[in-house]
């Protein structure tokens, strides 16, 4: 169970850091449809791919922290990036599973 505790702690810490970071970047009132943020999308894709496909506790935790960072951004931000990251990571996971 220790590994699950590490994962959930990584997600919570990543989300809090993401929230703090995004409020520092975007102080404006709520924006319903912000632009697609490419650097954040890269972080999300890399994070979720590590989380789903690495098979290593430390790398998975780092991946969840990165994924949580983007997912935990202030409301309205990070949604499309998270969706892109999750779709690519799940596709990669299924490809790797079928290829083996």
């Amino acid at each position: 169970m220790l590994d699950y505790m590490i994962y959930i702690l990584a997600f919570a810490v990543g989300s809090i850091l993401g929230l703090l970071y995004s409020y520092k970047q975007h102080g404006e009132p709520f924006v319903a449809v912000p632009d697609f943020n490419m650097p954040m999308a890269v972080v999300a894709i890399l994070g979720w791919c590590l989380a789903f496909c690495s098979g290593n506790v430390i790398l998975t935790a780092i991946g969840i922290l990165m994924g949580g960072f983007v997912m935990g951004e202030r409301p309205g931000y990070g949604r499309k990036e998270t969706a892109a990251g999750l779709i690519i990571a799940i596709a990669l996971y299924l490809l790797m599973k079928w290829a083996v």
Binding site: M1, L2, Y4, M5, I8, L9, F11, A12, S15, I16, L19, F30, A32, M71, G72, E73, R74, P75, G76
Partner: protein, 290 residues
Amino acid sequence: MNLMAEILIQVIIAFLAGSLLLGLHRKIMARVQKRPGPPIVQHLIHSLKFFFKETAIPKTVSKVFYIGIVFILALIWIVGVIAGPVAHDSLLIIFGVYAVYKIVEHNSGSSSGSPYGKLSCVRAVLSAATELPLFAAIVFVYLIVGSMNIGEIIAYQSIHGALIFKIPLAALMFFMLIITKSPYSPFAITKDKVLISGFETEHFGFLRGFMLFSESIAWYVLLWVFLTIFFGPLNAVGYLIGMIAITFITGFINATTPILSPNHSVMTQITIGAICFFGTIIMIFSGVVV
């Protein structure tokens, strides 16, 4: 693994997972109501924040009860974690935990000296109606499996299939309890907004922090028990998907349903409980449940 370490790890998981799920619950309710809603991690931040806030104790409180009750609240749900996810022990302990939780709600309201708390305390007695369907659901699980031990219930389901397909109405009764315990539930008469925050109204600072800590653990334990006794042996991904799905469903229900008045709430719970109880008995005696 050392038992104490196992308990500590499971309590931390229960607190974090419960907080994140309750945050998700708020987010879903907000999206249904076309609001942006707070971030998912907000409930966790909220819980932690209260531990660092100033704790004021009103003059009208019964001090020993007022302070002691929040620790009892945290303790009973930690017992719930030990009896459930850690030890896979008897369902009766879970029932006992829920029964004591009702007493804690009652005493927390009555010790505060606030009229809102006291009215919430009276409603806590009424809302004990939710325990009847819970007890009935546990009895049906016992009738089918022949044991109340969670470990044996899991073993039974791994051979005979998930209990949700055998006694769906008993599962519905348990689900009623989950809806009742969810935030902003139509049956949450003890936390009706006309009572401000109900039995929690006069608890500030770290005392409220302990209450939010306990609520998070309670949500996790209830979902864990429901998934375990009705959906058979699940792995971590199964629990994650199941908990998120139930949080989604309760979020949708609570976002679209107004809170009921106490008499309507109790009557609705008892009526649904009675229909499911007699329905399951008919299913058992007519041979639908083998």
